[in-house]
Assembly symmetry: D2
Homo-oligomer: 476 residues x 4
């Protein structure tokens, strides 16, 4: 398995990454990427820690090699609970901002491994072998792997083939003897500027007329024709002012595929349009499970910070505050509970234990749909100081520091600095640019709220409920 | 184990039961109790059913006897999952109205078995033996057992000893050589007019000054001095008009203890006030778990009925309706999920596997707190006919029947009668007197919403969340 | 203007009314209608009261006659505020259950008076004169007038002409020299069994193919071919047990028109399908305004009862209770405020001051959409006794009365009887069959929630908002 | 009345303002204040605009002079509606970010003018004359006037005199012949670094022991001993990237009073502790009314931006989107409606027409309590691009611009740039640092949610509701 240093070195490969309008020569040396690189290296660093490696290291049930646990194809409930724990622990290690480096890529690989046998049986293709080989290659090299799924979509009401601009969904523009040429873009691709490879999937169900859009493949980030437009700018590295985002910036990118060549052994779907929907649904389940696992520390942080500021403000025992803390507890327990029950009640598909799709969708829906309400609760507990707190630099000015220490104290016994640091944490968690990204990310990451709404309806079998109602109404 | 006939026969014991102001000579012969008796006998009937007895019959881990599963003291996760399944299946057998006959009584017994060793260790008492003997006696005789916990409470802000009227909490008025004399009342005691015995517990935490109120015991329903004021009147036995409540009336009673003698071997707490709080908390956990298990079929019925009327009205595919069905699914899944996770993450106390208190409280809170919203969704889907639907007798009048069949049809292909029966079911489920009782029962049964709010705060250990926040704020 | 006695006498006209499957010979003598007749006579009684008649008596701006205020065609803000006050005061006089006797009928007349000139201008018809003459006739005779709008609807997704059964919307089956023959049914027609005449309108927008369904007219209730199936049965006349519904039962009916003849002078729309939609929208605005006015005392009663039981239980000052009372206050103030602003910002159409449609729709939506939540709050404050309270007859039994007085007391100083009466009131208000009718009525009365959702979108002009956004985004 | 230039010149007075730890020599020349100065000058600029001055110019009913309308002491409903319109129009002029320059200061003056006669009658003081003179002075000089009310508060559960640190509420430390010396701080003081004077009020009710804290006065910003710590830093002046905050930054400050001398003629309360509560309640009513007026354009902007992005994304007609737009409409209409009804139902106190306190509190509560939910709706409609949209500088790079135009298009016919600008607007409105300030400001500005909760309970007279319930329960 790779060391953090090896991981960082592996990123020096002439990839084409832009930031805020300028091309970055080397992502590992670029000042505004420094904290992001360190943040993403955390996952590799944690695997070297004697106390923590137990969470991150496993063996491959197919090859017997020691591998990063994220690459382990789950066979049963225990494997899923272990994957859950690994994602949870990495997210706690990142203080609630998970260093996404293999989770999403393996979500995509697992989805492909589940669908490939079905495509092969119908079409006589050989995707099962290909994706298995790719899976083993990636785990052997302990790759930093991003999953690239969301297309820009143009007019959201139209199928790919109905769009005025044919490129708003990524598509095959040419099939050659040695591979295919693809064109298009993928948006919001987490960690991609600092990943080794991308696993690319279609983003929606399709019709026969969309078959050029039914394409899945893996590709190194530095492949010619791939341009990444990274964002956001890293707003601050002052870890007093922005305790969370200064240390743990998240990096997304829009990725443009400008007629990129993909050799056949890296192609995992190519025109079999009827499998585009099932493939992305499988991915969605894996990815929402990942979402459920890594969001628990986010909610823990929200609850912990709210409890601390309530205490510092002297109001921890008021009914108004306790009601809000209780809602934060229920919010957190919903995340815990649905991620666990999704393991206990897993589904076996093509020999792979997949977390229960209904539970993953409900769990993800509950945390996303209630997120803004929880922010409101935290902000109400914090007080107006969350909006107008003097800056870290004000506090560093000795003249002002004395005044601030004197006037911005909380209940007796709490150092003013502690109170300010928690206020800054809450600000960064709920009300700065990076928390704004989280607001959108919570609603749209791992699929929109509407995507879960649809899946919940689809996955729930209503038969036993209807039967009971008919019986009660004396119609059975 | 008893047959339904033996159970019914066992109720002919000169108990003192009033209904709507009149004394009932024999509860088994009284016309307005007929359906209630049949409903409560269902649990005994189901245990005789070759296909269903597997859910209801078990063995005692202490005596090895065959017993009703409700009496089985849980040792592990499997026992709890089995108890969960038994309560769920009985509730489905009662079409969403559980025939409560041993569940609550054993909730009380288990709570006593958990607390007795602790009292004995501190006070040198012998409650452990007593409650064990009583438990074995009850299971051997397959008793119909009610749990009696809630006192009338008077001024809700005051402790028992602070009340102007000393009798608003049940209390010991005399200790004699052979036993104690108790006085007071218990309210809302489910199934009690048709139970064999009552297990009586205190309803709240207490102070040293309340020690006369810290009393627990078991007593046959026909003991001299016990008066039951049953309710509600059984509103209708027309199972077209009231499909649910005509077949499955629920029976509660207020029970008055007018200086009732309890022999020492039936006394399980007697003045050890500091254990009143822990005892009722244990009971609350068991009982909220029971609540979670039996409410699942209620929610199934709500969802099934809503889906059917949506279909009959021709609107099953509209976004407005689907949004509501989805919320009903999440509501149901919350019930399923929290009742299961409470088993998987049980707590071992005095050798007994208790369902996880935090999960029981959150699960119960979610179904109670969202119940009215779900009623609203069902009623919105149903249409105004839920309020003004012609009566079953209108439909039985041949002149009117033709008109109603003609005008009250739904989408093509659905017999009008089916639509009317589902409308009547929804009415009975959401908008009649018995559903009104359920509205109150959902909010206050198994403890008030506020009781769960308090328990959720108490049971959740916030330490790991606070630590994470301190770390993120650079204060660790 | 009529006296209550004259009103009652006017109902003895051989109308064909069924109740619970049986034909009623004379509605004024029928025991189970006694309280309903008395309730509906309240409006006439109040107009005789020297202190209250100021609210109910006005003059006709067209004829100068003294008339019931409900018949006064509003010319300006003051007229609307007066109509608002009249409906509000009648509803308070009925203790929150409005004796609907002219309100809905005049809602229909006003809608017709607004649309008739438009139809006449396009089609050269003479509806303006006809409806004006009918209006003057009705006010001169101080008629009890019901509005009949809602059709049974069959498959809710289809237009009238698309239905398998052509009669699920009321339609013209024949046009004759002297009038038309109509067939069909209207459902949920409030007070109709005890009204003198019905004003009948179409219930939805229509297409050219639906022209037979575009029909509006007025007709006496006792016209041959009209059958009323009244409901619900009157559940109790024990005003201790059911303080509200025993005194103030509401009466609805399904009305069947079995080839009923309507003379031309009573026909106000006949095939002009493009006006069916605007007509029903006008009616909806008037009727939702009526809804806003009469619901205020309902919400007052809810709030008052909740405040009383909180006080009686000793918990009036707890934060948990105060939060709920505050929500009830906001709920009530929304009703007050939207009904007033709808007057202040009225719209003038064809010389008639119509309450602002946007405000009427939002106000009605807010009270209907939040109603169940308010019920939950009241029930939570009340306690479990709302579900299991002993009956009035229990309390009348002297043996039980002593016990109940002793054990069901509240805080010191409150007579137990007072507490029981308020519990019974809350039960009747939130959890009995008649309150169930109110639950459906609140959601579906004056149009479904979905109807308001659509109207709110339609009535709000978004232009100034879009312009502001474009300007802020530097696109203007 | 002042020109914008005169206003800016008036700020060059050696005031002591810090920003991000550094002292600012001249606020009018400081680069990071440039946009803030321009923004606040808008109010003066608008008064010069021939088309718009009608909203902003009025006459003094006491002196007959032409004055800024904000200074006009309302006498009746029309004056209040005019003040409402003025605040609304200025807020629209600032594109939803009101340039607060006289509104809050006059809120404070009006509160003082209402309370002064009451203090004078009880204590024989001469505050009525003093505040009247100060009011006339301020309006004559068309002063930019901030209101300073909120203290830092220390332990929120304690009264001022109970605090460990006596300075966490501003207090009188010395009374001299010529005036008083005050010490303490005020936080979140909107526009204060760019105001001419401050009107300072106590922030809460007090006891006799807090009399040193019962102090109100006016003071120029550049008075010796006053230090302002301004915030926040102005994050960006790129009006593509941050369309709203680049043009309209808001400026708050924490203000420290380090033994500041106030001459007697500027002192308006000095120890009369029993009036501190009523004074701040009056201020709260005025200020929440101001809040209601200026928030309408904020909600207009939210709705307009949401409608535009829905259209650009091609989803304007989906039920999911329409449901959310409808909620935004209701949100906006609540603001409009409560601000108007507060004028129509004003209260007359000491000859001054005060907006209705109940309506002001409910209206403010509704917009603050629902704000986060509205943000969620807007963000859900927008899509993930709100979180990960490429930067303005990316779009300015010609290479990237072509790609972005190609891939980030919306529905056919919408220029990509328009879509990006609206996305950036939504981002700035809901998810950047300044919108974070607005989140806190919405909840805590004009008083916390809890403050409104308390006021709503206090202002609503429940008598008529309780009477109705007693009557319905046959207890009257």
């Amino acid at each position: 398995m790779k060391t953090p240093e090896e991981y960082i070195e592996s990123l020096r490969d002439d990839r084409e990454v832009y930031l805020d309008g300028k091309k970055i020569p080397d992502v590992t040396k670029f000042p505004r990427f420094k904290e992001a690189v360190e943040h993403l290296a955390l996952s590799y660093k944690m695997a070297q820690d004697p106390d923590l490696r137990k969470y991150l290291v496993s063996t491959c049930p197919e090859t017997g090699e020691e591998i990063a646990i994220f690459y382990r194809l789950p066979q049963n409930e225990t494997d899923l609970l272990d994957r859950r724990e690994a994602i949870y622990q990495v997210s706690r290690y990142g203080e609630g901002v998970i260093p996404f480096i293999k989770e999403i890529g393996t979500d995509a690989i697992f989805a492909l491994r589940m669908i490939a046998p079905q495509v092969d049986r119908k079409h006589g293709t050989e995707y099962t072998q290909r994706i298995r080989r790719y899976h083993h290659y990636a785990q052997k090299n302990d790759l930093a792997l991003a999953g690239a799924v969301t297309d820009p979509k143009g007019d959201r009401k139209l199928y790919p083939h109905e769009q005025e601009n044919p490129d708003v969904y990524l598509r095959i523009v040419e099939k050659r003897k040695d591979g295919i040429i693809v064109k298009g873009a993928k948006t919001h691709i987490t960690s991609s500027p600092l990943a080794n490879e991308l696993v690319v999937l279609p983003t929606r169900n399709m019709t026969a007329k969309d078959s050029d859009y039914a394409v899945a493949f893996a590709v190194p980030v530095n492949t010619p024709g791939i341009t990444l437009i990274a964002n956001p700018e890293h707003y601050s590295n002052d870890s007093f002012e922005r305790p969370l985002s200064a240390k743990h910036p998240i990096v997304h990118a829009m990725i443009i595929f400008d007629e990129v060549f993909i050799p056949w052994e890296r192609v995992f779907l190519c025109g079999e349009w009827e499998f585009a929907g099932p493939l992305v649904q499988n991915f969605a389940t894996w990815h929402r499970f990942t979402g459920l696992c890594y969001k628990a520390p986010v909610a823990e942080l929200m609850l912990g910070a709210a409890a601390l500021i309530a205490d510092y403000n002297g109001v921890a025992r008021t009914s108004n505050v306790r009601n809000k803390l209780r809602e934060l507890i229920i919010y957190l327990e919903n995340i815990y509970t649905y991620s666990k029950i999704a393991c206990y009640e897993y589904k076996k598909v093509e020999g792979i234990a997949m977390p229960n799709p209904l539970h993953c969708n409900i769990g993800k829906y509950l945390f996303a749909d209630n997120y803004h309400l929880m922010l409101k609760y935290i902000q109400e507990i914090t007080g107006g100081i969350g909006g107008t707190c003097p800056s870290a630099n004000d506090y560093r000015n000795p003249i002002l520091k004395d005044k601030l220490d004197h006037y911005l104290c909380g209940r007796a016994g709490v150092p003013t600095e502690n109170r300010l640091r928690i206020v800054k944490l809450i600000r960064d968690l709920t009300a700065t640019c990076e928390s704004g990204v989280h607001m959108f990310g919570t609603i749209h990451g791992e699929g929109t709220l509407e995507a879960q709404r649809i899946m919940i309806m689809r996955e729930f079998d209503i038969t036993h409920c209807v039967e009971l109602a008919l019986r009660a109404a004396n119609l059975r």
